[in-house]
């Protein structure tokens, strides 16, 4: 009897952990999803922008201690949120001076050739950011240890790590906020129009390059916030982006490339799979489980589980 009880507790513990982790994965995927949705560019450096978000939060909170006055909870939260605008600006500038040359209205007609240039450029970003990170931050793993990283809230027999629970709530709020921005605000609608039909967008006076720049900045900024939130829950080094790139691609493909809500659910599902797999698989095989699910989805439902909002026709 007791055995069954502890099996159930383990199950619900893994389920809770999966949901909490998955929420933040969901936000990360939304960042990648908006870039793909608006620009049709697969950003291979997305994980590295997440890494920048982690270090931004770290330096704001512990490194330079600018935010210590906010206390043990608000400090790291503010650090994670501020990582967003910082990385937004970096993304904006990279698009303005580099990526914008190989994307946008001018290259829409160049189809294949345009895509090669984009792939090579975002791969280049990934290499430069990772190695720049090694030079600037060093290869030593660090972590943003705060009281909330260690404390848990208990619900019955289930423990919810505080940092992860807070990260989950904020991730959901940011994802909802972004969704409302895209569907309700005028700027958000022009981004969708530029994604839907770049030529017609130009005819109605939308600057497609500017839309792309905003989408790229937003996409990397959102993922950086997810990174900033994760920084309180685990240690990291400049190579960490690579681990999360797999999570992000799996989530975005699962959700149906181009759908923002889908990307969130995709990321959430990946988190669940990853944590639930620890019930039956050794801890080291977590990411293998993600891959297996990823392959199954590609095989049986290549359009993703949730369809596409930008390509429903």
């Amino acid at each position: 009897m007791d055995d069954l009880k502890w099996m159930l507790v383990d199950f619900f513990q893994a389920l809770a952990a999966g949901l909490l982790v998955g929420g933040t994965y969901g936000l990360m995927c939304v960042g990648l999803g908006i870039i793909f949705g608006v620009m049709r560019v697969v950003n291979f450096a997305q994980g590295d922008f997440m890494m920048l978000g982690m270090y931004a939060a770290y330096y704001l909170v512990t490194g330079f201690g600018v935010l210590t006055f906010l206390g043990p909870y608000a400090g790291p939260i503010a650090g994670a949120i501020l990582a967003g605008p910082i990385v937004f600006v970096i993304g904006w500038l990279l698009h303005r001076y580099l990526l914008g040359r190989v994307t946008g209205a001018r290259v829409v007609s160049a189809e294949a050739e345009g895509h090669y240039a984009q792939i090579i450029m975002t791969l280049g970003f990934a290499l430069v950011i990772t190695n720049g990170g090694l030079i600037l931050f060093g290869s030593q793993p660090i972590s943003l240890q705060t009281p909330m990283s260690r404390e848990s809230w208990e619900i019955g027999l289930i423990f919810l790590n505080q940092a992860r629970a807070i990260a989950f709530v904020l991730s959901v709020l940011f994802a909802i906020g972004l969704y409302l921005f895209l569907t309700q605000s005028n700027l958000g609608k022009t981004l969708r129009a530029a994604a839907d039909n770049p030529i017609a967008a130009a005819y109605v006076g939308i600057n497609v390059d500017r839309s792309h720049r905003i989408a790229f900045g937003l996409g990397v900024g959102i993922t950086a916030i997810a990174g900033g939130l994760i920084a309180s829950t685990q240690s990291f080094q400049p190579y960490i982006g690579f681990d999360f790139v797999i999570v992000m691609y799996a989530g975005v493909v699962l959700g149906g490339m181009g759908s923002i809500l889908g990307a969130f659910w995709g990321g959430l599902t990946i988190g669940l799979v990853q944590q639930m797999s620890t019930l039956i698989l050794p801890y080291q095989l977590q990411n293998t489980a993600i891959f297996v699910v990823f392959l199954l989805i590609i095989f049986f439902r290549p359009q993703g589980m949730f369809g596409r909002i930008w390509e429903r026709t």
């Binding site: 609608k189 039909n197 017609a200 130009a202 005819y203 939308i206 930008w310 429903r312 026709t313």
Partner: protein, 235 residues
């Protein structure tokens, strides 16, 4: 209002327009007719700035239009209703119209233009929250025209609004276009393969063949011209 002088446009090495000159006066209805591949769409794309000319001039309200980036030309009061509808398929009918009103003037006049558009095309009113991609071809064409009108343009450019539509719907759409022209004093530049319908409603017409203007003139001159009657009007 719009003055085009010896415009040359080429794709790669292939010439699509050579030495095209064209005038549209304020308040006029001007039609450009010609067979497939004559360069009609190319002409429109060059006016909108999506295609760059090799040489020539385009002046709009006295301003050198070629110096203005594509996305700012809509702000000057030029609305381009593209060939093949090109609505924002994944957005609703209302959102499409809102995107049309993305210009400064369009936003100012949204409150009085929206009812006008919905009255002009009542079907859009019924389907306001439907995704544009799921509309029928005729409905999409009406939406594309509505989107153009929503920008509160001074010059409405229509590229083959009859494309792929049943005759009854084409008649309805032409009738609406004439209505807008007459009742709202909108200047119209229309490109068409349906020569009879297009020439019937225009003040002035141009015949484009393989990138050249082969004939031009006022409505009466063109419809009574023997060559036009034989080649295009089947008389």
């Amino acid at each position: 209002m719009l003055k085009i002088r010896s415009l040359d446009v080429a794709y790669g090495g292939l010439k699509a327009l050579s030495d095209v000159s064209l005038d549209v006066e304020e308040g006029q209805f001007v039609a450009v007719v010609g067979p497939n591949g004559a360069g009609k769409t190319t002409l429109f794309k060059t006016i909108s700035g999506v295609v760059q000319p090799v040489s020539g001039e385009i002046t709009y309200k006295g301003q050198n239009l070629l110096a203005v980036p594509a996305d700012e030309r809509a702000q000057l009061g030029i609305a381009h209703v593209p060939e093949g509808r090109q609505v924002f398929a994944s957005m609703t009918v209302m959102e499409n119209l809102e995107m049309g009103a993305n210009t400064r003037k369009g936003r100012e006049r949204w409150a009085d233009l929206l009812p006008t558009i919905l009255e002009l095309f009542p079907v859009l009113s019924e389907r306001r929250s439907q995704l544009a991609g799921t509309l029928s071809g005729g409905e999409q064409q009406m939406l594309a025209i509505g989107r153009g009108i929503a920008s509160a343009p001074d010059l409405l450019m229509l590229d083959e609004p009859s494309m792929g539509l049943a005759p009854a719907i084409v008649d309805a759409i032409f009738e609406r276009i004439q209505f807008v022209h007459r009742n709202h004093g909108l200047t119209i530049l229309l490109v068409e393969q349906r020569v009879a319908e297009a020439l019937e409603s225009c003040d002035r017409g141009y015949v484009l063949e393989t990138g050249r203007v082969v004939m031009e003139g006022a409505h009466d001159t063109l419809v009574s011209d023997q060559r036009v009657r034989r080649a295009y009007l089947g008389m």
